[in-house]
């Protein structure tokens, strides 16, 4: 064998706590010198609950109750990162739907929001660099092909530091399969825990709507915002139809469920026929209706990992979604 002389150049469910308990979500970041911001989404039956005020919340940092100083920063501009699976599995009409969805998403963003788009095959490309949504993009040039370095892509999307005064969210559109990452699920979860971004995952499943309808006997609207099926709904409806022993609605379901829970995001199931843009629109709308709580940590060391707990002091089965913690300096 004649070796080459140099490197060839070719070659938890966010155990969505209920009633009064909460789970952590959202960008936790420092607003002022010592202030911490925590995004919190409150849901009732999967729908965002609006109209809550600061006194309605209870926030614990390392189990120590904290005084919430402000809770109305929801108009803070967003930095959105879209991570899109453009591997060979989406060639053809699926890719067309993704392109349309991405173009539509530009309309849902506000003038002071910014976005970027990362395509995922076995290599990663920042198809659209972080920029105002009004700027022209090269989405039409998006091509499908290759494998899926999904864990690598999510990690790459999470590393970008938060810009002061801006909220940071990551929306991943994927079938959940990873085939060619050098990193692994554990690394992705670790980076998710340490990052500033809130991660939402949208998973298209073949005939998802028909499966849910068959299992529940109710109609899932087509091409409406309501067609975004909550993971919990889809799971409850289709669990019986899962292949024996798999226990998963899609590849790596447990991993991405944990990722969204750690970062305060949510996981949605859509049908491959559904509008990608509608899915992104609903996620953005719900993100905008979420609450941003600000507090200055008291009674806890500033350094190191901080476990966070957020509760809503209202009766009923409210689901609170928030990041599970943050790394202090």
């Amino acid at each position: 064998m004649s070796p080459a002389s140099s490197l060839p150049v070719w070659a938890s469910l966010g155990a969505f706590a209920v009633s009064a308990t909460v789970l952590a979500q959202t960008p936790v970041f420092r607003a002022a010198v010592d202030a911490v911001l925590v995004d919190v989404e409150v849901l009732d039956g999967g729908r965002a609950v609006t109209g809550l005020a600061t006194p309605d919340f209870e926030l614990l940092d390392q189990s120590v109750p904290q005084a919430i100083e402000a809770g109305s920063l929801k108009n803070m501009p967003i930095d959105l990162t879209l991570v899109l699976d453009t591997s060979g599995s989406v060639e053809g009409r699926r890719l067309d739907r993704i392109k349309t969805g991405v173009r539509d998403t530009a309309q849902w963003l506000r003038a002071d929001d910014r976005w970027r788009v990362i395509s995922v095959a076995h290599v990663l490309h920042e198809v659209v660099p972080m920029q105002p949504a009004s700027k022209p993009t090269a989405i039409d040039a998006l091509q499908a092909g290759g494998g899926t370095a999904l864990f690598d892509a999510v990690i790459a999307g999470l590393m970008r530091p938060r810009s002061p005064g801006r909220r940071q969210m990551l929306v991943v559109y994927t079938d959940g399969d990873d085939a060619s990452s050098i990193t692994n699920a554990g690394a992705m979860l670790d980076v998710g825990r340490l990052s500033d971004a809130e991660v939402h995952v949208v998973v298209p499943i073949e005939n998802a709507r028909a499966k849910v309808e068959a299992a529940t006997g109710s109609t899932v609207p087509v091409n409406k915002l309501d067609s975004l099926i909550d993971q919990a709904t889809a799971r409850a409806a289709t669990a019986a139809a899962l292949p024996a022993g798999s226990g998963q609605l899609f590849p790596n379901e447990d991993i991405f469920t944990e990722l969204t829970a750690r970062t305060g995001g949510r996981l949605f199931i859509v049908d491959y026929q559904d509008s990608v843009g509608d899915a992104f629109k609903r996620i953005l709308n719900e993100y905008r209706t979420s609450y941003v709580l600000q507090y200055t940590p008291t009674g806890v060391p500033r350094e190191g990992w901080h476990d966070l707990t957020v509760r809503v002091k209202r009766p009923g089965h409210l689901q609170v979604v928030a990041r599970k913690g943050y790394w202090g300096g």
Binding site: S6, G147, T148, M159, T183, V191
Partner: protein, 368 residues
């Protein structure tokens, strides 16, 4: 799910180019021009759309070509006889070489687009190689190149089949043992790297369950084979590298580091050097030695600047250890110019296929 091997694509694009040159010429015409000057028709080989038809054409062409009378000697055309121009290789043997080399090159040029048909073409030619007794240097070089091509398919069953052919002609050849071990190791290859459309796809998918008992058995067998091959000087760097990779798959990170030590002292080529540093980083990371892992990843990037795998591995390690600024800088740079041709990691499971160009070249040299 994609249908063709990434590794094959990555390597083939660089070796052969991706352009099509219009309507495909006939196989007979291609063959005639190939044996005059192989390098001039390489690009055209990639325009052949139906390799099964091409194989059938070759099957018809072969008997006539092999039994055709010799061309008129130069002397009969009036030129004086030249003893130095007398053929060193008997005519029939030369024609056999021409035929099987053309078939192998044709298969190689189309393996990404027509993997299964390409493999059938290789096996058709292989029959004409291995029945030649006693085997000679040409046969050996041809078989090594063919083995690399089949390894690139990432279809363990086919690789084992072909290795059997190779061994029947060259018993005890260490490269055959390496190929068998690679076939066992390929069980850990990402599914998307394999030819999911091939006849062995179902068996491959069943066998590659990473947590399955069958996988554990195959990895144990691969590790034992690679370990034995450490004694073969020519194969020691690759054997050490692959042994370390298997040990990483088994979670035996400390053993992997020992295996990589053996690689580092003997490594010469960039492929092994890059991957050994990458694997060293992964093993160190597995042992919780992040700082040492980062040093290894940086060394890998010195060999393969901007390579995807080493960049992502380093950035992730840096981020997890609080060095966010550098991690972000690395990833930002990667997102601007990620390129499969910069990273041989993609070709790892494809065995010797990254050496296809180096292996087929000497075979072509036998074509007059």
């Amino acid at each position: 799910m994609r249908k063709r091997s990434l590794a094959l694509a990555a390597v083939s694009l660089a070796i052969l180019g991706s352009g099509h040159l219009g309507a495909a010429p006939s196989i007979a015409d291609l063959f005639q021009r190939y044996i005059q000057a192989p390098s001039r028709v390489l690009a055209e080989l990639a325009t052949v759309e139906d390799l099964d038809a091409a194989r059938s054409d070759l099957d018809h062409l072969a008997p006539k070509f092999l039994s055709a009378p010799p061309p008129r000697a130069a002397a009969s055309a009036g030129a004086p006889p030249d003893a130095s121009a007398a053929p060193v290789v008997p005519l029939l043997e030369q024609r056999r070489r021409d035929l099987v080399t053309f078939a192998l090159d044709l298969a190689g040029a189309n393996v990404v687009r027509h993997g299964l048909s390409a493999r059938r073409l290789v096996e058709w030619a292989c029959y004409n190689v291995r029945r030649h007794l006693p085997p000679n240097d040409f046969d050996h070089r041809w078989q090594l190149a063919a083995l690399a091509l089949i390894e690139g398919e990432i279809d363990p069953e086919s690789l084992r089949d072909h290795t059997g052919h190779f061994e029947s002609q060259f018993p005890g050849e260490p490269r055959a043992a390496m190929a068998r071990a690679i076939a066992d190791e390929q069980v850990t290859a990402p599914v998307e790297l394999g030819l999911v459309s091939n006849a062995n796809a179902a068996a491959f998918a069943r066998a590659r369950n990473p947590s399955g008992a069958a996988t554990a058995v195959l990895l144990d067998r691969a590790a034992a084979s690679f370990e034995a091959l450490l004694k073969v000087d020519a194969l020691r760097p690759e054997a050490g590298l692959r042994l370390a990779h298997v040990q990483i798959e088994q979670g035996r990170f400390d053993r992997a580091l020992v295996s990589l030590d053996d690689v580092d002292v003997s490594v010469r080529d960039g492929y092994v050097r890059y991957l050994s540093q990458l694997f060293r980083g992964i093993a160190l990371e597995g042992l919780g030695r992040s700082s040492d892992a980062q040093t290894a990843y940086r060394a890998a990037l010195e060999t393969g600047p901007h390579a995807h795998a080493a960049t992502m591995a380093l950035a992730t390690s840096l981020f997890r250890t609080g060095q966010r600024a550098e991690a972000d800088e690395l990833v930002a740079s990667l997102l601007e110019s990620d390129d499969q041709s910069k990273d041989v990691w993609w070709a790892y499971w494809a065995g010797d296929f990254h050496l296809w160009g180096a292996l087929i070249g000497p075979v072509r040299d036998f074509v007059k």
